[in-house]
Symmetry: C2
Subunit: 243 residues, 2 copies
């Protein structure tokens, strides 16, 4: 069985357009590298009900869940509490997280106030996820990995988490640019697709200077089948003069 994953992006700022998400693509690239299939992403607002219902749907349907956003010190950071409620466990100041943060603030001459203490609230039974950038940790509870929304912190936390995941055989990818529109090759491509059931063949139009070209992407865990399908697509491209 291939491991699957889902991602929950939490944040009004993404849904209002104020901030453009950068974490989805980073997680997608990383999971593809280690052979885990990202099968769904959801973006919800900073509302407890929306977070809990999405989390409960995702943590039962995929091997791993990754969240981004809502774990800072302010009143609108409600991810940790929502995760605790989704799992039906308690939440409180975590001594490990508190020690990490108070030590960090001591060293940098800042005080541990109520807002910063809020970042040490961790659901009961969770493991901490290391944050080398700004120290305040993420956490893993069951199959749910709770990480920051700030892209540099998200990426650093993901680095901490990746070695603990059980990936499958990574997917191999071949990309063939066709110098023609999708409409010219659709039929022949469908025929190649039907000959190679273990190869996923995607067709992606690109519009450049008012003219469509097409990128054909072949993906498979079966290297021999991938090579054969790629050869068939290359032959088609030559026949079509679309090199």
């Amino acid at each position: 069985m291939t491991a699957t994953a889902s991602m929950l992006v939490i944040g009004d700022e993404i849904l209002s357009g104020k901030t453009k998400d950068k974490n989805i693509g980073v997680l997608a690239d990383a999971l593809t590298m280690v052979g885990i299939d990202l099968i769904e992403v959801r973006i919800v607002s900073d509302e407890e009900g929306a977070i809990i219902s999405a989390l409960n749907a995702m943590r039962t349907s995929t091997t791993y869940v990754f969240t981004s956003g809502g774990i800072g010190p302010t009143h609108d950071d409600i991810t940790a509490d929502s995760v605790a409620k989704a799992f039906g466990v308690g939440i409180g100041v975590d001594p490990r997280a508190y020690a990490l943060l108070s030590d960090f603030y001591d060293r940098t001459g800042r005080e541990m106030n109520a807002g910063r203490e809020r970042m040490t609230r961790i659901p009961d039974g969770a493991d901490l996820i290391d944050n080398p950038v700004s120290i305040a940790p993420g956490f893993r509870l069951g199959n749910v990995h709770v990480m920051a929304g700030v892209p540099s912190v998200f990426a650093a936390m993901l680095e901490s988490v990746l070695p603990s995941l059980n990936g499958g055989v990574p997917i191999s990818v071949q990309t063939l640019p066709f110098n023609c529109g999708e409409g010219d090759l659709a039929e022949s491509l469908a025929s190649i697709d039907s000959h190679f059931p273990t190869v996923a063949i995607g067709s992606y139009p690109k519009l450049t200077n008012g003219r469509f070209t097409t990128e054909i992407v072949l993906r498979s865990r079966d290297k021999a089948a991938l090579d054969a399908a790629t050869q068939a697509a290359q032959k088609l491209r030559t026949q079509m003069n679309a090199d």
Copy 2:
């Protein structure tokens, strides 16, 4: 009642990381402008079951649904058929879409083949959405707007659709940069937040050159309350010397 919206992004290429989505932010910005709340986004793969179940959840929970991706001429473009199944209606070659495309191909010296004809398959009862970029239309069925994944085409189709939407009072936004980390202002900000129930106050950390600053974003449809809350936040910023 404020109109709400959801978005369904359809495409393996986004979930594999091969392509980075650009349409979510474009839709989010446009809906905020016309006073419609985008409350959820989902990204699913090119699989009929996943598309249908997400669509049926979203079209009953929000006023409007917008989809991107999967309406091209190739075998992996299954959005139109999935939408028809979700609504339980038939689908076939649409004479209006066929006329548009065959005329376009005539004029540009190309032939209408089976792949291109696939782009004229439209669910029964749908209205067409104009595509000034590459002609092949999107469509609206009930409250679901089906649009292309190619960003320039998505944006053009969205322009066609926007005038038909019933927006509410647009949300007014005030942004205040604070020259300090979130941890320094969390408590005072929570107090302001509790005084202005009709104003949504978001706090967004930014990490630049290893140092956190904070952007406070105040959003409301109630202009007077927004102004009062913004004044309170400005006063706090002056008190904290965080201008």
